[in-house]
Symmetry: C2
């Protein structure tokens, strides 16, 4: 095995997100390092309280209470700024970028306020400022817009950008709860930020919309030019009347082009969306971003909007891009070695046997229309341990043949193949039985 270059990482903040990042890098380290062609080494972690008990294991020697010592450590290649706030975080980020480091962040408020300065500092310093985790949680929407859809100009981007608000609206709607009752439930689950106005009054959504507007149009829109309304004035009755009118209510951040692309507008407000639209059906803590490009047309990207794991996934994706930038390797990581890797871990990937592929099934049979036939069929199915979940016998009669629609409880491909083979042998089953799979993913 060739010797891999070592990439040295400093974490600023070891709270929910920082802890998640380090936990998942540790857990998937082998696969990750193989894909990146580099070793990842945690050099230093800045925390507020050295003595606090933590869920991730970091040695005392790696801890510091001085985040600037990470920004200025010549040994560190990538700094993950996961402390939040716009004061010390800004100072740390500017210092690291001035030193030509790669900075990875989830700090949408900071970017929204000082983005122009931060990106310019990154450019002048020769480093990079990566911020996938700042918008859309686990959805790689930054990458989608500025890399995947780089060919496009964007006439409309809009989305559900705050999981807390979406969770509250979804529960109000589903359980006919008032805003206050639902908010209390969300608080108890820890779904609401310490500063509640960030979520509820729409500011978090506005921060993210401003970042998306910059990505799509290269323009920093000042937050004071963004009309922002939250969800606090929405009553349960509004949700019910909207329902009556054929709509659901979602808090959206909207970046629209107007005047044939000569102007843009960024706004945040609760919005009525027709119930049959995909966006209206993105519920709970999920986020979704709809992107319309002049070439690609419109698309929607849906995923978990927040939480330790989704955010960590985004931060690690940025760390990987940082490694590519440092090593000069292109990010499309070729994975052909992964099968080998998994093999070396003792879990050689093979094709599953048909017994392992499980599910429920829909079965359409053409049978003789006479008593006793259903008994024959259910006996064959029972012989193969396939149990019937539902049965429809549509009213129709032609040549004394009837159609029978059966669905099964959980079974597997092997048992169903055997069942069909034996059903075909029955004199009262005409034509080949027609099988469809029922999936119940998520």
């Amino acid at each position: 095995m060739s010797k891999k270059p070592v990439i040295k990482i400093g974490l600023v903040g070891l709270g929910v997100v920082g802890g998640g990042v380090w936990k998942h890098i540790q857990q998937n380290r082998l696969a990750l390092e193989r894909r990146l062609g580099a070793r990842l080494q945690l050099v230093k972690v800045a925390v507020q309280d050295l003595k606090k008990k933590r869920s991730v294991k970091v040695s005392r020697a790696q801890l510091t209470t001085d985040p600037m010592s990470i920004a200025n450590d010549p040994d560190i290649d990538i700094v993950c700024e996961l402390m939040g706030g716009t004061s010390l975080a800004r100072k740390v980020t500017l210092a690291a970028l001035k030193n030509g480091k790669i900075v990875v962040t989830a700090n949408k408020a900071l970017i929204c306020k000082y983005g122009a300065q931060l990106f310019e500092t990154a450019r002048n310093g020769g480093g990079h400022y990566f911020f996938e985790a700042s918008v859309g949680g686990g959805i790689p929407i930054i990458k989608v817009i500025r890399e995947g859809l780089v060919a496009n100009r964007f006439n409309l981007i809009y989305g559900i950008l705050n999981g807390t608000c979406n969770y509250i609206l979804t529960r109000m709607e589903r359980e006919s709860l008032t805003f206050d009752k639902t908010l209390n439930a969300a608080r108890e689950l820890g779904y609401v930020e310490a500063d509640e106005s960030l979520d509820l009054e729409g500011w978090d959504t506005a921060h993210k919309a401003v970042i998306l507007a910059y990505l799509a149009h290269g323009k920093w829109v000042n937050l004071k030019d963004v009309p922002v309304e939250g969800i606090g004035n929405i009553t349960l009755e509004d949700i019910q009347w909207a329902d009556e009118l054929g709509f659901k209510i979602k808090l959206l951040g909207i970046i629209s082009q107007n005047n044939k692309g000569k102007s843009i507008f960024v706004r945040v407000h609760p919005t009525l969306i027709r119930k049959d639209k995909i966006m209206a059906n993105v519920d709970g803590v999920y986020n979704a971003v709809s992107v319309s490009g002049d070439i690609v047309g419109s698309g929607i990207h849906i995923g978990r909007g927040a939480g330790q794991d989704a955010t960590a996934s985004a931060v690690i994706g940025d760390v990987a891009d940082g490694v590519s930038a440092l090593l000069g390797t292109p990010p499309p990581v070729v994975l052909e070695d992964d099968a080998e890797l998994y093999a070396s871990l003792g879990s050689d990937i093979e094709l599953s046997s048909l017994e392992d592929v499980t599910g429920q099934y829909y079965l359409r049979l053409s049978v003789t229309d006479k008593p006793g036939v259903l008994a024959e069929i259910s006996t064959v199915m029972a012989d193969h341990d396939v149990s019937i979940a539902s049965m429809i016998q549509p009213q129709e009669s032609s040549n004394q043949q009837a159609t029978l629609i059966l669905t099964t409880h959980q079974s597997n491909e092997k048992r169903m193949q055997d069942t069909i083979r034996d059903l075909k042998k029955l004199k009262n089953v005409h034509r080949s039985p027609f099988l469809l799979r029922i999936v119940n993913f998520d």
Copy 2:
């Protein structure tokens, strides 16, 4: 302005996709070259018939009938293989990759059949083989999986990967048409490939599923190990019975991990999905891919599945990655210069005025419960040219107050602000009127 490096491109194939790629590079050239920090030059185009009339303008001197001359031209940096097929396309691709070039392709059949060899050749030659356009049309799903979600291991990936089949199933369902009638309509619209079995019997979906399995698990699954069923045996009645049972029918490609990640299984078959799932509501020619990662959780990516423009968007995204790889610049293109660029094009991006931000509106009013009040309100609205689309007056009475829910026809933010200002002045309107926006995107 500093002198930009020139990246030289050869196109193999100038049909629907090739023509689209060149057309869009021409149209968005200024923005694209700015973002990439490079000039894009079309050096040579291989076609079958030199005399054919084409929708894009290419000079006779650039045309050749010999695709190998592009693969072997030392002057060319990036080869876009858009000819299709698995014989000559393979020869051309292997030659270009051996020469260390970057090859961009939409050829899923070729990758599925010879992927292992092609990627090894790319690695040995020092070039790259990019294939975003091969799966999911305009959805940058390859980039999402192997870059954005690089931190994850994937327990389940499934999706609607063939727009033609989805179009047929959607029309059968919506218009109660038989399979044959719908197929004929799809043929007339040019939605079906020359070799119909590729679409209808599920092979196109299988090619894409094999590519996704490779991306997620680093393993090339042989097509003969993939159970593949198409949509040809689905009757209109199946769709109706499925509906009765609470399901929609979609053709899915499914890549699942089994046995705790020790084995995987790739399959393609029509599938019953519960109607309330997002995937069940992806209709028409749209594709959708659901990706579940061990860290990020599940997400869905939806977009146009095929067609000249969506495919061109994906190819150009890969060309951009190719440029980054050639120049050693990281792909996260910083766009802060774009505002300048647009300005230089005479379309300085400004914030839209409130008159430009149009839409319909939902208005909740608390009013005195007596005759004549509605007339007062509608007069104010008419004064500002806002017309009422619907009205609900819920039955409730407290202190002689009534609630009034109005929706408007198309209006704009300015007119609504003025309307609300004047409504507030009415003695019979209590509390501040509550306004929600109605969006009708797509």
